[in-house]
């Protein structure tokens, strides 16, 4: 991990991040001493047992919730500022499309908020829809699309802002195995085209290995970053990558890390 580098070269940086949720039933320490960083253009997956706080970490990066302590930066900026500057966009677990808008208008939404003109909006949205292969579905309503297609629209909506950082919270978790593999391939080619920094939350080890340049493993609650692995399989990764023996090696190594991480009880 490129820890200790200057902020400017880092797309994402979290230092000693902790998050405590206060509730009537008692406080919950969700994150403790999370250290994470990603160089610009890296694809970093965050993997860990269910409930370890992966999504919480992503939401802290997205400035949706504040950390209790620690420092979080995107492109060297404080995350609130990064959000206002639209340095990043988020792809959520569910597609979160507005059901009263058709595909094209859903993709236009962030541009409307940014105050982009009508023509420019449409043109940019159409270009992005072409990239994700949904050009012929512009006029469809969200409910007319499959789960995978809906998530592609969500991806297009995230990309239309031209963000330098993409925060993805288990975006393909609800999809079947085959659709997920296909989405991974498409995400790969999109990532290489746009050269974005990606933080990708998943609990699928093969998915993490296939996509990532780096994988960070988190422990069970309270979530801590316990291992980081550099996946130096060559890009572009294709269907063949999945049958590369080194692919399996990485999967096995990660599996062991994850097994250890899942057993560690919070102090």
């Amino acid at each position: 991990m490129p820890l200790g580098e200057t902020d400017e070269s880092l797309g994402l940086a979290a230092r000693s991040v902790a998050k405590r949720f206060y509730s009537k039933g008692g406080d919950v320490l969700a994150l403790e001493n999370v250290m994470l960083s990603a160089r610009k253009g890296n694809f970093v997956s965050l993997i860990g047992p269910t409930g370890c706080g992966k999504s919480t970490m992503l939401r802290i990066f997205a400035d949706l919730i504040p950390p209790t302590s620690g420092e979080v930066r995107i492109n060297g900026k404080e995350v609130g500022l990064a959000r206002k500057d639209r340095d990043f966009s988020v792809v959520f677990q569910s597609p979160n499309l507005l059901p009263w808008r058709n595909v094209l208008k859903n993709v236009c939404l962030p541009l409307e908020v940014m105050g982009e003109g009508r023509k420019e909006r449409k043109a940019r949205a159409k270009r992005i829809l072409e990239v994700v292969g949904l050009s012929s579905f512009e006029r469809h309503q969200p409910w007319q699309l499959s789960g995978g297609m809906q998530q592609k629209v969500a991806l297009a909506r995230a990309l239309v802002m031209n963000p330098s950082v993409l925060l993805m919270d288990e975006p393909f978790g609800a999809l079947d195995e085959i659709t997920r593999d296909r989405m991974n391939l498409e995400l790969m080619s999109i990532w290489q085209k746009f050269e974005t920094t990606v933080l990708f939350i998943t609990h699928s080890i093969p998915e993490a290995v296939f996509l990532s340049s780096h994988v960070v493993v988190m422990s069970a609650r309270p979530g801590r970053t316990v291992a980081a692995l550099s996946i130096d399989l060559p890009y572009p990764r294709t269907q063949e990558t999945r049958s590369d023996p080194r692919f399996f090696e990485f999967v096995n190594t990660l599996r062991k890390h994850l097994a250890v991480a899942s057993q560690q009880e919070g102090s």
Binding site: A62, L64, N96
Partner: protein
């Protein structure tokens, strides 16, 4: 009809708007026949019995006119009744429009201000408890014996309904809020692009309750002294002169009007909520 309850709009929509499947036309026809024939039969039976009772018992038409006479008067007087009905409907709908114009922005503003929402909810419950009739003297002080007085009364009575539904709709949270925050949408933009369309099932349910009530309130207010060319004041005049058949024809007109307005709202509902999951199971 209760003004105090707010039903979940989605389920109501499923029940009332689930249309027949477009294919299998014959099945659709038999389905419509099945839902139309029984009430039509009952109506015919009821009118027949009414006619018979009046005939056999030789009841004075001042007490209870026979249906055929009401129907005759209704058709004979149709242009007058239609004009009065239009005026009444216009007052009722203007009242609904004004109450929406107040209730929606106020509810929108009070969603994020807890004490405002709580305070206004209490007072809207108080307003609901006021009998319409007692408002009339107050309204006439402000507006005179006129249409604006009736519109004002309708506005006041319908406001709590629209406010309650709007507040409910606006308070429902979803993951879409996080999306809007993640793209740094300002509050007003969030309201226009997300909150308002998202709560439209509630607003439509509010309208479905408010519109029939507005007609009732308008007629009652007119009865106590609205503009002369309205159904309510016509009923009062004719009743005072014991022109009972005319009163009945006006009642028939207000019933038809109420059905027409409700159908209009249902139609609007279908257009506005085309996207709602209940419309495309």
């Amino acid at each position: 009809m209760s003004t105090g309850t707010t039903k979940a709009p989605a389920t109501e929509a499923v029940v009332s708007e689930a249309g027949p499947p477009p294919h299998r036309a014959s099945m659709a026809v038999s389905k419509i026949a099945g839902s139309v024939l029984p009430p039509a039969f009952m109506l015919a039976l009821f009118i027949g019995a009414w006619e018979l009772v009046v005939l056999v018992q030789d009841i004075s038409k001042i007490l209870l006119p026979p249906p055929h006479q009401i129907a005759y008067l209704f058709l004979d007087n149709f242009s007058l009744l239609a004009r009065f009905g239009r005026n009444t409907a216009s007052e009722a709908l203007q009242g609904v429009a004004f109450s929406c114009a107040f209730a929606i922005p106020i509810a929108g503003a009070s969603v994020s201000v807890q004490w405002l929402a709580r305070g206004l909810s209490t007072y809207s419950a108080v307003v609901k408890a006021i009998p319409v009739v007692v408002l009339f003297p107050v309204a006439t002080v402000f507006f005179g014996v006129s249409s604006p007085a009736v519109i004002a009364i309708v506005t006041v009575t319908v406001f709590p309904i629209m406010f309650t539904y709007a507040l409910r709709g606006f308070s429902s949270n979803s993951e879409l809020d996080e999306l809007m925050r993640s793209i740094s949408a300002p509050r007003f933009r969030r309201f226009i692009s997300l909150t308002l369309p998202q709560s439209s099932p509630y607003l439509m349910a509010g309208l479905k309750t408010a519109v029939p009530i507005s007609l009732i309130v308008a007629i009652v207010s007119e009865y106590f002294g609205g503009s002369v060319t309205t159904l309510g004041s016509y009923i009062r005049r004719e009743a005072a002169q014991l022109h009972t058949p005319n009163v009945w024809s006006a009642i028939l007109m207000s019933t038809l009007l109420s059905i027409a307005l409700y159908s209009l709202v249902s139609f609007l509902d279908r257009i506005v909520l085309y996207w709602h999951p209940s419309r495309h199971g």
